[in-house]
Amino acid sequence: MNAESLYKRLQLSGVLVVAGLIVEVVTLYWAHPLAFVAFIVLGGTLVAAGTLLYLYSIVSH
């Protein structure tokens, strides 16, 4: 994988993690039974996808 391709993956990974973190922070202020579900299912999945993509990118580089 060349550097340009790595940078693109890092950027995509960053976008996923930022989106996940925003969802996680919003759910902390949401006093609702679904807040935890949204935190894990939406926020957790986005963060996991972002970090896994990042790890895959640096391992395959």
């Binding site: 790595l6 940078y7 890092l10 960053g14 902390l28 039974p33 990042y54």
Partner: protein, 204 residues
């Protein structure tokens, strides 16, 4: 907002700032310092924020206000204010025999190794039933109430140990052959809430 929540927000915002730096200037990662920065921003910090966030949500799910946020629980919450100490939940709640902000959880968790996890799994099941299932007309416990939950606090307490009525059946209580609820049998009584006097004292 708790201190824990403030910490998570600070961690998340710091992480987002670091990620933006990496995303906007990816060339930084060509150097050793940039690689470390990317590892912290894209792995360590997000995982830490998610871990601490999960802890915060779990702690929040123990609160009385969280349990009562489903309308099915409203009468049970109201029963905590029955102006009669013989009503078990009301007596405990109004006399600070438990932390009011964790009143439901304190009595309805299971005091075993994985009791907390089990309570959370059942909570998730309740959320599922609330939105997608059929809510039963009468809400009942999954299992008969165990003496273990009462003894978690009362065992060793003078008010429990010194009472003659308890001394006579000490072994039966410990073994569960005699349920605490057999004698202390006035519990939530939600069917008759409308006829009962309520205590409107301060609970915050």
């Amino acid at each position: 907002m708790t201190l824990l929540d403030a910490g998570i927000v600070a961690l998340a915002l710091t992480t987002i700032a670091l990620i933006l730096l990496v995303v906007l200037r990816p060339g930084l990662t060509a150097e050793r310092g940039g690689k470390m920065l990317a590892f912290i921003a894209l792995f360590i910090s997000p995982v830490a924020a998610t871990w601490v966030g999960t802890t915060s949500h779990i702690e929040h799910s123990k609160t009385t206000s969280f349990c009562l946020s489903c309308h099915e629980m409203t009468p049970y919450g109201r029963s905590l204010r029955i102006a009669d100490g013989d009503y078990l939940p009301a007596g405990h709640f109004q006399n600070n025999r438990l932390r009011r902000e964790e009143a439901c959880y304190t009595c309805h968790t299971t005091y075993t190794m994985f009791g907390g996890v089990r309570a959370k799994m059942q909570g998730m099941q309740h959320v599922f039933v609330h939105y997608l299932g059929t809510i039963p007309e009468k809400i009942e416990l999954y299992n008969p109430y165990s003496n273990r939950e009462c003894l978690h606090c009362h065992e060793g307490a003078r008010s429990f140990e010194d009472l003659e009525d308890h001394a006579d059946i000490r072994e039966e209580i410990a073994s569960g052959d005699t349920s605490c609820i057999e004698c202390h049998d006035v519990v939530h009584d939600v069917e008759n809430l409308g006829e009962l006097e309520m205590w409107e004292g301060r609970t915050e």
